[in-house]
């Protein structure tokens, strides 16, 4: 075996065992009935047929789209805003940068439990101080609260946006200053357009990320409620597989989620491409 391949082997074996094999297995299981107790039984497109008429699945899809529609733009905006506010080499920004990054290094479960305390309708500080006890107890309160919680975990996007902002040469800003451009004009006509290609990439990445990352808060904060308002696709797949032991059907859902994700990414990619060539 050649040396580079040898060096990459531990990683490749890990990816193979933990990602590729389960993914292929899931793709196969998607066309079976499998409870985990008896061997899988091939049932063709029965699972897919059931999926299309499964109202719980469609509701989970809708919930997921709401989550993504709120989380992705806000996360991207927050990361960009933080990068623009903190790109200068000032002492205050050197202190503030790690603070922006910090929530991203908190383990997801700990982060969810923290918010469970903050938002607890009976004794949580946010609920008691602001009288907002309905945040997690009403369906729309929960639908909006969960993506908002994710807006604080933007460390990676923030770092990328910061690097892009700092890569813009200073003389362009000096030219704009000579041209008499106001800060707002400079930001909207210079900074954001120059950052746009990378911001578009960040949006794509965050979309894929946000489709999946809602699992932990939905499980720990709201348990998919109230009234299934936060039963997102990952949570629904998980329950179908490991609470109701319909592993074959869960695989069908996972596979369809993969297809939907790929489609959304493709459409977004095409839109960006068209927009870039038009710009």
């Amino acid at each position: 075996m050649r040396r580079p391949a040898l060096l990459a082997a531990p990683f490749l074996v890990g990816v193979g065992l933990l990602v590729v094999v389960p993914a292929v297995a899931a793709a196969v299981l998607a066309f079976t009935e499998f409870s985990g107790v008896q061997p899988p039984r091939f049932n063709g497109l029965d699972n897919l047929e059931r999926l299309l008429s499964d109202t719980a699945f469609w509701r989970a899809t809708g919930n997921t789209l709401i989550y993504v529609a709120i989380a992705v733009p806000l996360r991207l905006a927050a990361a960009t805003f933080a990068a623009l506010a903190l790109h200068r080499r000032a002492r205050s920004s050197i202190v503030a940068r790690p603070i922006v990054y910090l929530p991203s290094v908190v383990p997801d479960a700990a982060y969810a439990l923290l918010w469970l305390w903050l938002l607890n309708p009976l004794y949580g500080p946010l609920a008691t101080v602001f009288g907002a006890s309905g945040i997690l107890t009403s369906p729309w309160g929960a639908r909006i609260a969960l993506p908002l919680i994710a807006v604080f975990q933007i460390g990676e996007a923030f770092v990328v946006a910061l690097a892009v902002r700092r890569s813009i040469p200073a003389d362009v800003y000096e030219a704009a200053a000579m041209d008499g451009a106001s800060p707002w004009f400079t930001t909207t006509r210079l900074t954001l357009p120059l950052m746009a290609p990378v911001l578009a990439l960040l949006a794509l990445r965050d979309l894929v990320f946000s489709l999946q990352v809602n699992f932990v808060p939905a499980l720990l904060l709201t348990d998919g409620g109230p009234r299934y308002a936060t039963t997102y696709l990952p949570l629904y797949v998980y329950r179908t597989a490991f609470r109701y032991f319909r592993l074959g059907y869960a695989s069908t859902m996972a596979l369809s989620m993969f297809v939907v994700t790929a489609l959304i990414v493709y459409v977004q990619y095409r839109l960006f491409k068209r927009w870039r060539s038009a710009a």
Binding site: D171, E174, M178, D179, G180, A181, R189, L190, A196
Partner: protein, 336 residues
């Protein structure tokens, strides 16, 4: 419009200490004239330009445009346009949008902007597709876009920071003439920064020589060449610069430094010569040759017609007239 700088002083932090880049600089550019600020790298010329532009804030002193103190004004409020060394074009915008940027920032009407852009483009003879991006342009084309962007606002003052340094030699001499013509046609008061003394001589109505953050001399190119105010100016101008040496070397009494231009020296009979030297190198430069001669550790450069050049190793006598001698104080380098 006149531009004046009065007592301008600026220091930068440098490894814990302060380094003074500009030291009480005074210059005044009369209406419609081009002043070239010239000096070696590190002399503070770019900092001076940036202070006039408002991109740097001076520690002391004032910048005046037409008699109005603009020292505290924002760069965009000074009615000054600048051409940057690396052009600083907006990479994501088309040529047209690059030129129009400043007018859009000032919220002018679409018709006015179109008209002004077309006029500026015609003025710098930028005959290219205006929808192209800067990255697809040659150095010369970018240069013209930068000029058009500065012109389009009809500023009172034009600042140019080494605008030719990124062009190849042929384009440089061509663009030099064009910038000069442009400045004469528009009659906009201009400050032009360069490290190249030839550029300073050919472009400037007035030349300000800067060294170590201090003005050495301000004058017309002829004055600077004929009557250099300091030994530094004497050495800096000319191709090559003036020979400056102790008086004793040519048998004169006194402590002063003597300066003689290489083109004022003739080679001749060593017997009657002011001084004798050995030929080390002969450098041909077209019709002329530059002869490097030395006496002890001192080098004299002589500029001659190619056919008059002696052979290497020859002992030659250096002749020059009294009228061609400049005297400088050895203590401070000033003309005496």
């Amino acid at each position: 419009m006149t531009v004046a700088v009065r007592g301008l002083t600026k220091s930068f932090d440098d490894r814990g200490g302060k380094r003074r880049v500009l030291d009480a600089v005074d210059i005044e550019v009369p209406d419609g004239r081009m002043m070239v600020v010239v000096g070696p790298s590190g002399s503070g010329k770019t900092t001076l330009l940036r202070c006039i532009a408002g991109l740097e804030r001076p520690d002391e002193g004032a910048v005046e445009v037409n008699g109005t103190d603009v020292t505290a004004a924002a760069p965009g409020d000074r009615d000054i346009a600048m051409v940057f060394q690396d052009y600083a074009l907006y990479p994501h915008l088309s040529v047209r949008d690059n030129i129009a940027f400043g007018l859009r920032a000032r919220k002018q009407s679409r018709e006015d902007i179109d008209r002004a852009v077309d006029a500026a483009v015609a003025r710098v003879e930028l005959f290219i597709d205006l929808d192209r991006r800067p990255r697809n342009l040659s150095g010369g084309e970018r240069q013209r876009v930068a000029l058009a962007r500065a012109l389009v606002r009809r500023p009172s003052v034009f600042l140019l920071d080494e605008p030719l340094s990124n062009l190849d030699a042929e384009l440089r001499s061509h663009t030099r003439v064009e910038i000069k013509r442009l400045q004469k046609d528009t009659n906009v008061t201009s400050v032009y920064v360069t490290h190249d003394q030839v550029e300073a001589m050919t472009m400037g109505d007035l030349v300000a020589v800067l060294d170590g953050g201090r003005i050495q001399q301000v004058g017309t190119p002829t004055e600077i060449y004929d009557r250099p105010a300091t030994a530094f100016v004497a050495r800096f101008f000319g191709t090559p610069g003036m020979n400056v040496f102790p008086a004793a070397l040519c048998g004169l009494s006194g402590e002063s430094l003597i300066g003689v231009r290489p083109e004022s020296i003739r080679l001749g009979d060593p017997g009657t010569a002011r001084t004798r030297a050995t030929v080390d190198v002969v450098e041909p430069v077209g019709a002329d040759a530059i002869v490097h001669t030395s006496l002890d550790a001192h080098v004299f450069l002589v500029r001659l017609h190619r056919h008059e050049a002696p052979s290497v190793g020859a002992q030659v006598g250096l002749h020059f007239e009294d009228a061609d001698m400049h005297r400088f104080d050895p203590a401070n380098g000033r003309r005496v």
